[in-house]
Amino acid sequence: MLTIGDSRFSSRLFTGTGKFASSDQMLAALAASGSQLVTLAMKRLDLKAGFDDILAPIRQSGVKLLPNTSGARNAKEAIFAAELAREVLGTSWIKLEIHPDPKYLMPDPIETFNAAKVLCERGFTVLPYVHADPVLCRNLESVGCAAVMPLGSPIGSNRGLETAAFLKIIIEQAKVPVVVDAGIGSPSQAMAAMEMGASAVLVNTAIAASRDPVKMALCFADAVATGRKAYEAGLAQVHQRAIGTSPQQALTAFLSE
């Protein structure tokens, strides 16, 4: 079981709600994924009109909501969005996303840190989306974030774990769960993240933009479960060269002389 803040999750696959062809398709994919935590953009909810095609069906499905601050360009906007989410959705969980760059949606480390600090002080369960930056992750942990969500590669790119070297350091050092978010494009990549020791992965585009989102959600569920099991079983040591072959020039031979 994975514990984040006050909640426990048996599934380590978190999903998103954007980009699906219809809300029915989204719900079917969410069900197939077995996900117990789904993120949704506050900016997509029509709070004035009182009707929307996203929130109502997700609420009915009973999964835990992780509202996100997508669209926020600085700490102030993100804090506002988080407060709005708490008021309207009744959850203090927030996926903190701040991207001033609308092209690649790169997270802003400075604004994210500033917002995280304020939100943690105000009692939010904060899951910040960040670059795979080990020092930033430690700083976010120290101000009270419940988890960190470093990216595997640019959001929506499906390019996989291009930040693997840094993710490994984050996972090695973190005292809070590490959720690899963004860039995971295939089940094998999700499995690789789990084998590496990630606590969970968040996948949206790879499921929603696939030809058969429901089938793809099932594949991700399997991959994440298998990757986690492999991590728990303990992968055997990887060797760069065969052990036991006699080296050309023994460096320790003098010890037995």
Partner: protein, 372 residues
């Protein structure tokens, strides 16, 4: 260095020659290439690329789905006024046209919004002719808060303003500005803009820079396809986009691809852009810029609009009226251009759903974006 300087430094003749002498191998390389490469854009816009429409469309559709999923944003134009102090020979609002001219009063504006809002729209495009004294910054600053109270996302398509005036409007909730150069060819531009402030090609060209400096979130570029050689105009719009994205990275960009349509007293297109050409344009820009928003107006026919879905379009208007007061009183006949797709918003939304797309009415939060 402004884009006017960049453009003056470009040799149009060289670009034209490169466009028309592109080889199939160059097109093939461009289709496979990474985004953001202007020589690739040139190759994709070339006549040689016409033979590669299918592979271009395949890649464009995949890239669009990757970035935007199955979402299509819906918006509506709201015409504030048809007063205009310009003489432009392609536009129904041109000064010398004998039209009943009007500027919406606050009550009339409220009445228009009361018709639009129940259709589901949350994104609105305010449009006016260009009349600096009667429909200028004071009027815009007055009406913007009224509109912002009803719609989360407010865009404007009006005359170019100063940076200070854009800043005032941003304060009042302006999210996006659409400002179309019409043509990047100064000679052609001069021929079609016969009187008024719009004759100032350079001021218009540098406007997106002022818009970005004022902190507007989204900037829309466009050319009126048909005024000049559309391949050249589209290519230069690509240069413009590239310039803006590099310098003003905090803004989002969109393009519109309006084809010159018949209007009262108007001209016929100099260069006909066929449906095939329009598809080539959309695909070329999607391959050039995966994140670019591409919007499609009701100038195009229903069947073409439906067929273009998925190739790269991210935003559509639906159920548009192009005259001030047209939502309350649809028979007014003061149109800026003729509409081809007369379907209601609900009809278009249902077509979207039947084709596997999600109509997105709201993707913006007025309450907290801009809270900084």
């Amino acid at each position: 260095m402004s884009f006017l300087d960049i453009l003056s430094g470009l040799s149009r003749e060289q670009l034209r020659m490169a466009l028309y002498s592109t080889s199939p191998a160059q097109v093939e390389a461009a289709i496979e290439g990474e985004q953001g490469n202007l020589s690739h854009l040139l190759a994709l816009l070339s006549p040689a690329a016409e033979e590669y429409l299918e592979p271009m469309a395949q890649r464009a559709a995949a890239l669009t789905r990757q970035r935007f999923g199955h979402n299509i944003g819906l918006y509506l134009p709201l015409y504030l006024s048809n007063l205009c102090a310009n003489e432009c020979d392609y536009c129904g609002f041109t000064m010398s046209n004998k039209l009943k001219r009007k500027v919406l009063s606050h009550d009339e504006l409220a009445a228009e919004m009361a018709v639009i809002k129940p259709q589901g729209f949350d994104s609105i495009l305010l449009v006016s002719g260009e009349h600096e004294t009667k429909v200028g910054i004071d009027y815009f600053a007055e009406v913007l808060p009224l509109v912002k109270a009803e719609f989360s996302h407010v865009a404007m398509e009006v005359q170019p303003l100063s940076r200070e005036h854009y800043e005032i409007l941003v304060e009042k909730g302006l999210d996006a500005v659409m400002l179309y150069q019409e043509t990047y060819d100064p000679e052609t531009y001069r021929k079609h803009h016969l009187r008024g402030n719009k004759q100032d090609y350079g001021y218009r060209l540098e406007s997106p820079e002022r818009i970005a400096q004022a902190g507007v979130d989204k900037i829309g570029l466009g050319v009126l396809l048909g005024l000049d050689d559309w391949r050249m105009d589209a290519l230069l719009m690509g240069y413009h986009l590239d310039y803006l994205e590099r310098r003003f990275w905090r803004s989002r960009y969109s393009i519109s691809l309006p084809r010159l349509r018949p209007c009262v007293g108007g001209i016929t297109p100099k260069v006909q852009l066929t449906d095939k050409g329009l598809v080539q344009l959309i695909c070329a820009f999607r391959l050039f810029n995966e994140q670019l928003e591409i919007s499609l107006s009701t100038r195009e026919t229903p069947s073409l609009r439906d067929d273009l879905l998925g190739l790269g379009i991210t935003q559509m208007s639906a159920g548009s009226r192009t005259e001030p007061g047209g939502y309350v009183n649809p028979a007014a006949q003061l149109d800026q251009f003729e509409i081809s797709d007369e379907r209601s918003a609900a009809e278009v939304a249902s077509v979207l759903r039947s084709r596997g797309f999600t109509p997105v009415w709201k993707d913006w939060e007025a309450g907290w974006i801009g809270a900084g």
